[in-house]
Structures are given as structure tokens and as C-alpha cells.
């Protein structure tokens, strides 16, 4: 319990990043998917041109795939830190690792749910 700063700053920083990335990725996925899809479709419709649905749909899915990969990578890092912290007896890193893992799973599921929409529904209806 003495000299706790022994928790190496590098690992703590990795664990913190792994906690922050999943929510940020989800917000970005939702925001960009909405903006790209809604604004692009509406912009074309209001200017009286047929919107290029497939392109827009592909763009949305591509974006979401990248963000999903990022989220899962953060989760992998978090899990690694969690496992490692158990050996080192550093409860803070262990906690952050577990939190990051849980967040990564939750937000990854969220991103998947966002990404399947353009697949199953008409993009610019």
C-alpha cells in the first residue's frame, strides 16, 4: 500500500485512453452518421436532385466500421491493462481496465446498432 505512485504512468495513461475512446467513438459515430446521411439526403432533395443513396450508405457504414475497430482496440488495450494490473497490485489501473473493457463492449454494440441501419432500411427515403 506504500508508495502507490509506483503505478507506471504509461500503463495508467493507456488505461485512461481506453476509457475515454469508446464514448468518444460512439458520439462521433452517431453524430457523423446522422449528419452525413440526413444532411446529404436533405441537401440533395431540397435542391431537386436524386440523392446517391448507395454512396451515402457506404460512407456511413465505412465510417462506423472504422470507429467500431477503434472502440474494440481500446477494449483490447483496457483488458490487457486490467489483467496486468491484477499481477502488479495496482487497483486503480485494474479498475480503469475493467471500466474500459465494459465501456468498449457497450459502445461497440451501440455502434453496430447504428451501422446496421443503412443496411436494412432505405437510406434516403
Amino acid at each position: 500500500m506504500t508508495a502507490v505512485p509506483a503505478t507506471r504512468p504509461r500503463t495508467v495513461r493507456a488505461a485512461v485512453a481506453a476509457v475515454l475512446i469508446p464514448p468518444a467513438a460512439w458520439v462521433t459515430a452517431l453524430g457523423l452518421s446522422y449528419l452525413v446521411q440526413d444532411f446529404a439526403c436533405t441537401a440533395y432533395t431540397s435542391s431537386g436532385r436524386p440523392p446517391p443513396s448507395t454512396v451515402i450508405g457506404a460512407l456511413v457504414i465505412g465510417l462506423d466500421a472504422v470507429l467500431l475497430a477503434l472502440t474494440l482496440a481500446a477494449g483490447a488495450v483496457a483488458w490487457r491493462e486490467h489483467r496486468r494490473a491484477a499481477g502488479d497490485d495496482s487497483p486503480l489501473t485494474g479498475f480503469l481496465g475493467l471500466l474500459g473493457t465494459a465501456l468498449s463492449l457497450g459502445f461497440a454494440a451501440g455502434i453496430v446498432m447504428i451501422a446496421v441501419n443503412p443496411l436494412v432500411l432505405e437510406v434516403c427515403a
Binding site: 500500500m1 506504500t2 508508495a3 502507490v4 505512485p5 503505478t7 495508467v12 485512461v16 464514448p23 460512439w26 458520439v27 452517431l30 453524430g31 452518421s33 446522422y34 446521411q37 440526413d38 444532411f39 439526403c41 436533405t42 441537401a43 431540397s46 435542391s47 487497483p91 486503480l92 485494474g94 479498475f95 480503469l96 475493467l98 471500466l99 465494459a102 465501456l103 457497450g106 459502445f107 454494440a109 451501440g110 446498432m113 447504428i114 441501419n117 443503412p118 432500411l121 432505405e122 437510406v123 434516403c124 427515403a125
Partner: protein, 843 residues
């Protein structure tokens, strides 16, 4: 974990000097100048409780009118006014402020701090909120009661349809939102920086985790509403065109801005409610909370995802289906996260040895109601069902299940749980239990039948209904239930108030609870903790204190100390290692003066008197200057001595002192505000059938000049903040550099302001002709406000330089100024992108 440690170092004189510096003001001063978090928190809660009873009486009037079909107790107009004021009161004047008050009271105690980080600003926020309430209710006095519903849809709330009542509503709202945003900044800083030594993030109470998440939500979600209400106000009184279809605006924009706020708002109420349960349930089950990391994850997921939910309130407004399904997905994910919390609570009950105390009863009532409300919520969240139930009593039933179940029952659980802490007295368990059964039974009797009336097709917001609809009996049940419910609330209030005089004395920890607030006296002394507790586990009162010399050294240094200035330990963000000493404000009259000035400005706008507005500007300016002078004088007293305990400097640069966090948070608020305006403009642009082709502001040199001036301001402030020694003992040497830096920053900022105004004046635009022009005005206006704030903090840095002998404080203030100016630069960039870049590029 002792707070009154007899054999520790402080002598009797030191103790009394310490008590002197923390002494509470007396007499009239107590009313107007108290800034201590406990008095501010109490005021919030008492004021909010009063508004709750007012809103409750309004609900009873509505229920009387609806008891039988085709009654004429109230006119249609009065009914509209009542549901508008009931909704507005409950959402803006009761629920959120009450929780802010609870947090203001509890967070410092739970975290082991002595006050909120910016105690005077905290008080200022309270006064803003109080004046907001008074302003809203003055509408009854002048006979112009708002009647457009609590979400005030345009065009009903626009210039053609609504009278001054709407202006009152909008200004009241703006003040209340301002207070909430301020409270959020306080909560972020106290949780991140002012935890007891050793309370690393993994040992933080769930309540602190939740209030941190909620504060982030408030910054991201309340700012858009503040912006939205300003835009609507401009439409109503300055002739802009944001919501006017004829001129390129769109009423849907209001709905977007409102629900970007409105949905998270529901979680801003529910999450703290859930957090109260996470504190109360384990104590009364005598078992730690099961699954702590997963509960934290669930809270974060709920908070973030709720930000994406706004569009589900607009299922029936004809948005494209894919857009809608994005948001349905988010709704479903939130249900899962809430499920995680429910499982954690049930597992805690299961593994513990629960006691059926009054707080426990309310917690169980919450669990039951919340699960039931969640089920109807999933139904409402599915788009096809919502299209059917939309605007019927099914929705009214659903949201009262969520709001009363999710927020009010936890609040009552919390009140009965913390009452001994607040007052030192235990409320009667027998009366408490009766009040629980009355509220619980009354609640379900009122709102369960509403699901059925809704399914039978009774629309919401109607002042009466036809006998042939066949819902007379159900409505009668609801009305009877409402009176039972009301009697339960009255009895709960009576029980608590009676305990003030007759309750059994409680001692510090009557429930055998685990968190730090129970280590303080009941009620806590003014500084909360004479000796700051150190923390080595998640349940610091259930486990032995850690053996860690570094932590003990900090606790000893702050043991009834310092005695020349109010201060509390400031610790590192992640692991709460000892860092510096944060100075805490003493009583001051200026918060109430400035908040009063702000309220006066709104009154002046309402009565359209330039004199009143002018006077209010003077009051506000003078108030802030006096406030700043007082701040610096006090800090001067603090720095006149050596660091606390010889180790912990009284403020330090960067994230090691609260001011840096405050400046950063203010910069974020500004950026969110301008992003909202930019979003609005973009939204209008893509949705408008006609948009001025190639319309741009088209003043590139002036825009660039503005940006450059801001860059110069950042550079000068930053340069100044690099000069002079940080050491308390060092002789000052950078006076000249600081003065130069502050002056240069001020001049550059002034130039930026002039150039911003020039952009508008020289551009060939008229904000009354088209929404694009209105949008440009709003963007430049936001930039102007940001620059004025930058100038304000630069002025404070100057004052700091002039009042302090040593170099450290002006250095810090210049650094904070640089931080805020960096925010201004982002504001400038976003504004420029929205006025020139995007309109030039898109379509």
C-alpha cells in the same frame, strides 16, 4: 478515520483561529453573504421543495378538472396555463435544482473537501435560479401566464401566436439554465480535483461518478437550450428569421434544440436518483454495492447515449426513417445499461442483510416503479408504437412513472437517509413508513389508470373529455390517487420538519454507513472536517485507514489549517495523491448583487426600458469588479505565508489549481454554444427550399484579422504566464512582463471585438430578411460574447497583478486567460466555417 483527534498537533489557539476563518456570517449577512456549500445546498433544496409543492397544487387543480367528463371547473385557457407551469416548474424549478442542491451539499462531504471549488460562483448560481423562479411566477401577478406547454413549440411560441408571457418564460428559462451550467462546472471541478488524499477514481462514491457524468451532460445539453431560447427570443423581439419558414427558417429547429436538451434532461434527473439509490441501498443492506465497475460503466453509457436520443421525441414529425432508427438503437442500448444497475441493486439486496428502514422502503418503491416504467418506456421507444400512443395519456403515464419513480422516490429515500446528517436528528420511522405507503399507493393509483385512458384514446393536454369516451371512472381513480399521493408528500414533509425539534439525536453515523460524509459531525461544522480524512478503500468507514506516510503528511498539514485563509487539499485527478492547497472563498455580498443585476437586465428587456437595462449593466459590471477585487485580496492573505504545512503551495499553475479547470470548462461551454449556432445554420441551410445562392459573409480580411487578434491575445497571455518564480518565498521579478502581457492581451482582444463588429456592419446583410443573415448575426454575436469574457478574465489577471506582491497568482491568471482565449479562437474558427467556408462549399 477520526475527525476530532485530540492528541494531534494543533494547539487550542490554532483551533480557534481555524474556526474563526471558517466562521459563518450572522444576522442579515447570513442571508445575503453565505457562500458555504451547505448553506447554498440547503437553499437550493428548500427553494426547490417550495416549487415542488406549488407545481403539485397545480397538478391537483388539473386533476379536479379532469375528475369527471365535461366539467367546467377550469377554462381551457387556465388549463393550458396550468399544465405549462406545472411542467416548467417541475422540470426547471424543482427537479434539476433540487439535485444540484443535493450535490452541492453532499459532494464536498462525500469527497472529504471543505467547500465547493468556487464557492461564490456556486452562490451566484443559486441566486440566478431563485430569480428565475420569481421571474417565471411573476407572470401570475401580471396576468400573462405562459401557455405553450413545457417545450414551447414554435410557432405556438413564436412572434405571431404568443404574447409577453412567452418572453417571461424564455428569460426565466435562460436564468435557470445559466445556473445549471454553472453548477455543472462546480461539480466537475470538485469531483476531479478536491477528493480526499487517497480517494483514487476506483474508490470514489457512485454519487460522485454520477454527478461527474451528469455535469458533462449538462454542459453538452443545456447550452444548446440556452442558445435555442436566445434564438427564439431574437425571433420574437429582434425580427430574426430562425423559425420562420417564409424567410428560410424552420420551426423544426426549435424542436431539435429543445430535445437535444430535453432528452438528456430526463437522465439528468434519473441518474442522480439512481446514484442516491446506489448510496442508500448498500448502507441499509449492510453490504457493499455489488458490481461497482459495471455500475460506473452503466452510468457513463447512459449519460453519453442519452445525448443521442433527442430525435425520438419527434417520431411523428416526418423525419426520414433511417435517421429515426439511429436513435431507436440508442434508446434500446440505454435500457440495457439501466438493466445493469437494476441487477447490481438486486444483487446487493440479495447478498446483504437488508433493514426495512424508511430509506429502504423508498428505495424498494423506486425499484418497483422504475422497472414498471422501464417496460412502458421500451414500448414508447419503439417508433411504430409511439406513433400511436404519441400525445395520449399513455405518454403522460409513462413519463410520470420515470420522473416520479426515477427521481422523486430516490429523493425521498435520500432525504430520510441524510436527514440525520443535515440536521443531527432522526425522523420518525413510523410516520416515514406511513408517508411511504401513501405516496407509493397514491402514485400507482394516479398514474396506472392513465395508461388505460391513453390506450382508450384520451389525448393529453385537453382540459376536458367526452363522456362517450368511457374513461370517466379511470379519470376519477386518477384524481383520487392524486390526492392520496399529495397527502403522502405532505406527511413526508411534516415528518421531516417535526424531526427538527423532536427527532432523536443521531450522532455522526446512525446508519453505520461507509462514506466520508458520515465521518463529519451531524450537522457538519462549517469546514466539514477539522482534520481531512485519508482514504484507502471504497468504503473508508468500514475499513481501516491506509498506512501511507504521504497521505498522512497531507492530512497533518491541513489539520485545523491553514488558519489565515480558507483552504482545502487539492489532489491529482486519477489517484488523488496530494498536490496543492485550493483556496476557498469566504462570505461575500457580490454574488447576489451580480445575479440581481442579471435578473434586472431581463426585467428591463421585458418592460422595454433602456434605463433599466443600462442600470443593470452598471450593476453587473460593478458587481464583478468588486467581486474580483475581493478575491484577489483574500488570496493575497493566503500567499503572504509559506505553503500549507511547508509543502503544499497555495495554488499552482496548470491543472494543479481549480482556476485552470474553471477556465477550461468555460472555454468548453463557449465552444458548445457556438457549435450549436453553427449546427442551427447548417440545419436551416439544408432544409430550406430557397437559400441565398453562394451566400457568404464575404469579409475575409476582417475575419482573418479577428482571428489574428485572438491569436495575439493567446500568445501574449501565454508569454506572460511563463514569467516569474512560482515559489512562495522567491522575490517577485516579473511585474513588468505581466503588465505588458495583460495590456497586450487586452488590446488584442479589444481589436478582435472591434473587427467582429465591423464584419457585421460592413457586410451587406440584414438579419430581418433571411435566416442566413440572422444566423450570421447570431454567430458573430456569440463570438462577441466570447471575446467579452476573454477581456473579463484578462482584466482579472491585470487586477491580480496590481494587487499581489508575489508573481505566482498573476502567472496563474494569465495562464487561465490564455486557456480561455484559446476557446475564443475555436469559437472564431467555427463561426467562420459556418458563415463562409461551408456555405461556399456545400451545394
Amino acid at each position: 478515520m477520526t475527525t476530532t483527534d485530540e492528541e494531534t498537533r494543533p494547539t487550542a489557539e490554532e483551533r480557534s483561529a481555524f474556526e474563526e476563518v471558517w466562521a459563518r456570517p450572522r444576522g442579515w449577512r447570513r442571508v445575503l453573504t453565505s457562500v458555504q456549500h451547505k448553506s447554498v445546498g440547503t437553499r437550493y433544496m428548500v427553494t426547490a421543495a417550495v416549487f415542488f409543492f406549488v407545481g403539485g397544487v397545480q397538478a391537483l387543480f388539473m386533476r379536479v378538472q379532469l375528475a369527471q367528463p365535461e366539467q367546467q371547473v377550469l377554462s381551457a385557457q387556465t388549463y393550458n396555463e396550468l399544465f405549462t407551469m406545472h411542467g416548467t416548474t417541475m422540470m426547471f424549478l424543482f427537479a434539476v435544482p433540487f439535485l444540484e442542491g443535493l450535490a452541492a451539499y453532499l459532494l464536498p462531504l462525500m469527497l472529504g473537501a471543505r467547500d465547493m471549488p468556487f464557492a461564490r460562483y456556486n452562490t451566484f448560481n443559486y441566486w440566478c435560479y431563485l430569480f428565475a423562479g420569481i421571474l417565471l411566477y411573476s407572470s401570475f401577478l401580471v396576468g400573462m401566464v405562459p401557455d405553450a406547454g413545457w417545450f414551447a413549440y414554435v410557432p405556438l411560441s413564436g412572434p405571431e401566436f404568443a404574447d409577453k408571457a412567452m418572453d417571461i418564460w424564455l428569460f426565466g428559462l435562460a436564468l435557470a439554465e445559466l445556473a445549471a451550467i454553472g453548477a455543472a462546472i462546480e461539480m466537475i471541478v470538485v469531483v476531479l480535483g478536491m477528493r480526499a488524499p487517497g480517494m483514487s477514481l476506483d474508490r470514489m462514491p457512485i454519487f460522485a461518478w454520477t454527478m461527474l457524468s451528469v455535469a458533462v451532460m449538462i454542459v453538452l445539453a443545456f447550452v444548446p437550450l440556452l442558445v435555442g431560447s436566445m434564438l427564439l427570443e431574437l425571433d420574437r423581439n429582434a425580427g430574426t428569421a430562425f423559425f420562420d419558414t417564409e424567410r428560410g427558417g424552420d420551426p423544426l429547429l426549435w424542436q431539435h434544440l429543445f430535445w437535444i436538451f430535453g432528452h438528456p434532461e430526463v437522465y439528468v434527473m434519473f441518474l442522480p436518483g439512481a446514484a442516491v439509490i446506489s448510496q442508500v441501498l448498500p448502507v441499509h443492506s449492510r453490504h457493499r454495492l455489488v458490481g461497482y465497475p459495471f455500475v460506473v460503466a452503466a452510468v457513463v453509457v447512459t449519460a453519453i447515449m442519452s445525448l443521442g436520443l433527442w430525435v425520438h421525441h419527434m417520431y411523428t414529425t416526418g423525419l426520414p426513417p433511417v435517421t429515426l432508427s439511429f436513435f431507436t438503437a440508442a434508446s434500446m442500448s440505454i435500457s440495457v445499461a439501466s438493466g445493469v444497475q437494476v441487477v447490481a441493486w438486486i444483487a446487493t439486496l440479495w447478498s446483504g442483510r437488508p433493514r426495512l428502514t424508511v430509506p429502504m422502503l423508498f428505495s424498494l418503491g423506486f425499484l418497483f416503479t422504475f422497472v414498471a416504467g422501464g417496460i412502458t418506456g421500451v414500448m414508447v421507444a419503439s417508433a411504430p408504437f409511439d406513433a400511436q400512443a404519441h400525445d395520449t395519456y399513455f405518454v403522460v403515464a409513462h413519463f410520470h412513472y420515470v420522473l416520479i419513480g426515477g427521481m422523486l422516490f430516490p429523493v425521498l429515500a435520500g432525504l430520510f437517509h441524510w436527514w440525520p446528517k443535515f440536521t443531527g436528528r432522526i425522523p420518525s420511522a413510523r410516520l416515514g413508513a406511513v408517508s411511504f405507503w401513501l405516496t407509493f399507493g397514491g402514485f400507482h393509483l394516479t398514474f396506472f389508470p392513465m395508461h388505460l385512458t391513453g390506450l382508450s384514446g384520451m389525448p393529453r393536454r385537453v382540459f376536458t373529455y367526452d363522456a362517450t369516451l368511457g374513461v370517466g371512472l379511470l379519470n376519477l381513480l386518477s384524481t383520487v390517487g392524486a390526492f392520496v399521493l399529495a397527502s403522502g408528500f405532505v406527511l413526508a414533509a411534516v415528518t421531516l420538519l417535526a424531526a427538527l425539534r423532536r427527532g432523536e439525536r443521531s450522532g455522526p453515523n446512525p446508519w453505520g454507513a461507509d462514506s466520508l460524509e458520515w465521518a463529519a459531525d451531524s450537522p457538519p461544522s462549517s469546514p466539514n472536517f477539522g482534520r481531512i480524512p485519508v482514504v484507502g478503500s471504497r468504503a473508508p468507514l468500514w475499513n481501516p485507514p491506509p498506512r501511507d506516510p504521504e497521505l498522512d503528511r497531507m492530512a497533518a498539514a491541513f489539520d485545523h489549517a491553514p488558519q489565515n485563509v480558507r483552504a482545502t487539499p487539492f489532489t491529482t485527478v486519477l489517484d488523488a495523491r496530494p498536490s496543492t492547497a485550493a483556496v476557498q472563498a469566504s462570505p461575500s455580498i457580490w454574488p447576489v448583487v451580480t445575479a440581481g443585476g442579471l435578473a434586472l437586465a431581463f426585467v428591463g428587456l421585458l418592460v422595454e426600458s433602456a434605463w433599466v437595462v443600462g442600470a443593470s449593466v452598471l450593476v453587473i459590471a460593478a458587481g464583478f469588479v468588486a467581486w474580483e477585487l475581493q478575491n484577489e485580496r483574500e488570496l493575497g492573505a493566503g500567499e503572504a505565508r509559506e505553503p500549507v504545512g511547508g509543502r503544499y503551495p497555495v495554488e499552482a499553475p496548470g491543472p494543479r489549481s481549480p482556476g485552470w479547470w474553471g477556465a477550461t470548462a468555460a472555454a468548453v461551454v463557449l465552444v458548445v454554444a457556438v457549435a450549436t449556432v453553427a449546427f442551427s445554420l447548417l440545419f436551416l441551410e439544408v432544409n430550406a427550399p430557397v437559400w441565398p445562392a453562394g451566400g457568404t459573409l464575404g469579409r475575409p480580411w476582417l475575419s482573418a484579422g479577428t482571428g489574428l487578434a485572438v491569436v495575439l491575445a493567446i500568445a501574449a497571455a501565454w508569454w506572460g504566464s511563463r514569467h516569474g518564480p512560482l515559489d512562495h518565498a522567491a522575490t517577485p521579478e516579473a511585474r513588468g512582463a505581466h503588465l505588458t502581457a495583460a495590456a497586450t492581451t487586452g488590446l488584442a482582444g479589444t481589436a478582435a471585438l472591434v473587427l467582429t463588429v465591423a464584419q457585421w456592419v460592413t457586410a451587406d446583410l440584414d438579419h430581418t430578411t433571411h435566416a442566413y443573415d440572422s444566423g450570421v448575426l447570431a454567430l458573430l454575436g456569440t463570438l462577441g460574447v466570447a471575446i467579452v469574457l476573454g477581456l473579463g478574465i484578462t482584466g482579472s489577471a491585470l487586477v491580480a497583478r496590481l494587487t499581489h506582491a508575489r508573481d505566482v497568482r498573476p502567472r496563474i491568471m494569465l495562464q487561465n486567460a490564455a486557456m480561455l482565449w484559446a476557446g475564443v479562437l475555436v469559437v472564431w474558427a467555427i463561426a467562420w466555417a459556418a458563415t463562409d467556408l461551408v456555405p461556399g462549399a456545400v451545394v
